[in-house]
């Protein structure tokens, strides 16, 4: 237990970038949870819409791809900021 406490104090002390790495990686994980829920929702709704009306499957597929790319754009934006948090040591 003493080793655990001292290593936690070493991580949390100033001058050590342990907490920054921890925060950055946890943030990236949470961003991915949000993005995959959003894109999965869109994919499910698109499949439902194609099942209801198969002759507009092409347009629905295009719309799904566009919405997925927009959500992924925001995701990568936030992932870049989360990745920069690992390097922000000052």
């Amino acid at each position: 237990m003493a080793g655990f406490e001292s290593s936690m104090l070493a991580v949390l002390s100033p001058g050590n970038s342990g907490l920054a790495i921890f925060g950055g990686i946890i943030g990236c994980g949470m961003i991915i949870i949000g993005a995959s829920i959003g894109i999965g929702f869109i994919g499910g709704k698109a499949v439902e819409a194609i099942a209801r009306q198969p002759e507009v499957a092409g347009r629905i597929l295009t719309t799904m791809i566009i919405a997925g790319a927009l959500i992924e754009g925001v995701t990568f934006f936030a992932l870049v900021i989360g990745f920069l948090a690992v390097n922000w040591t000052h």
């Binding site: 791809i65 790319a69 927009l70 992924e72 754009g73 925001v74 990568f76 934006f77 992932l79 870049v80």
Partner: protein
């Protein structure tokens, strides 16, 4: 195994960020200035030459019925003009379609050239470690430059069509006066953030794909056995196919969003 320990980076590196960074290749001195040419700038020049050659050959073939290369380029261009640009641009399609076509084919060529491992091929042929080609769209400055061009094109074309004050007034939809400051601030903020999201979307997609491929290939150097090498190579093949799809998709998304932004700034809805 001996070969891998002697030349510790034949076709893979332990640092996955190594293949995606831009390194200076040579320096051109023009007048009193030194222009440092990096490998990403060289790939932009290679993409320019490739597009000039291919488009000249595609436009040169005669006859009313296109076939071969001209058919391919023409079907892509007609799709972009009719399905992407004309629903949002309307009668101004022919003014801006050259820009949309250029952006699409330029980003597509850069993305596809990034999938060719030129530095590894040159290492296999000549045996000299180099850093020749690279994913040029994995460079925030190159994608940022294209997003900045889109930004200036949308707002300057909007200002030229509506006049400066009417264009600034048309940025926000007509809402009651007590909520107008918030709505106007949100609209201006989103108009300023749009080029950044355009640039970062393309940049992060290409960067993440190439870092993933480099990481998977670097696993072979860490584990150094055939089982990991075969599994890693199978996964790298799958990820490379996905990267080819993402190359087309990101070029299409950039062109689509550029035409959407131009269309929303020159339309006279609100």
């Amino acid at each position: 195994m001996n070969l891998i320990s002697q030349h510790s980076s034949i076709l893979a590196e332990l640092n996955p960020l190594e293949p995606v960074i831009s390194v200076p290749l040579f320096t051109i001195s023009v007048g009193g200035w030194q222009i440092i040419v990096s490998n990403h700038m060289f790939m932009v020049a290679v993409a320019m030459v490739v597009l000039l050659v291919i488009m000249t050959f595609a436009a040169r073939s005669r006859g009313m019925v296109p076939k071969g290369l001209r058919n391919l380029i023409e079907s892509v261009c007609v799709y972009l003009r009719e399905e992407v640009a004309r629903p949002v641009l309307g009668e101004n399609t022919d003014r801006y379609i050259g820009f949309i076509w250029t952006i699409f084919f330029f980003i597509l060529t850069l993305n596809l050239l990034a999938m060719i491992p030129t530095e590894k091929m040159i290492f296999l042929i000549t045996g000299k470690k180099n850093h020749f080609g690279g994913p040029a769209t994995a460079n925030i400055w190159i994608t940022g430059a294209m997003a900045a061009i889109t930004f200036f094109l949308t707002h300057i074309s909007g200002i030229r069509k509506h006049g400066l004050l009417k264009y600034l007034a048309s940025l926000a939809p007509p809402v009651p006066w007590w909520i107008m400051p918030l709505i106007y601030f949100l609209e201006v903020f989103s108009a300023l953030v749009r080029p950044f999201t355009l640039a970062v979307r393309l940049f992060a997609n290409m960067l993440a794909g190439h870092i993933l491929i480099a990481t998977l290939l670097g696993l072979i150097l860490i584990f150094k056995n055939y089982g990991v090498a075969s599994a890693s190579l199978a996964f790298v093949v799958f990820i490379s196919i996905l990267e080819l799809f993402v190359a087309f998709l990101q070029a299409y998304i950039f062109a689509l969003l550029s035409s959407l932004y131009i269309g929303s700034s020159i339309t006279s809805e609100h």
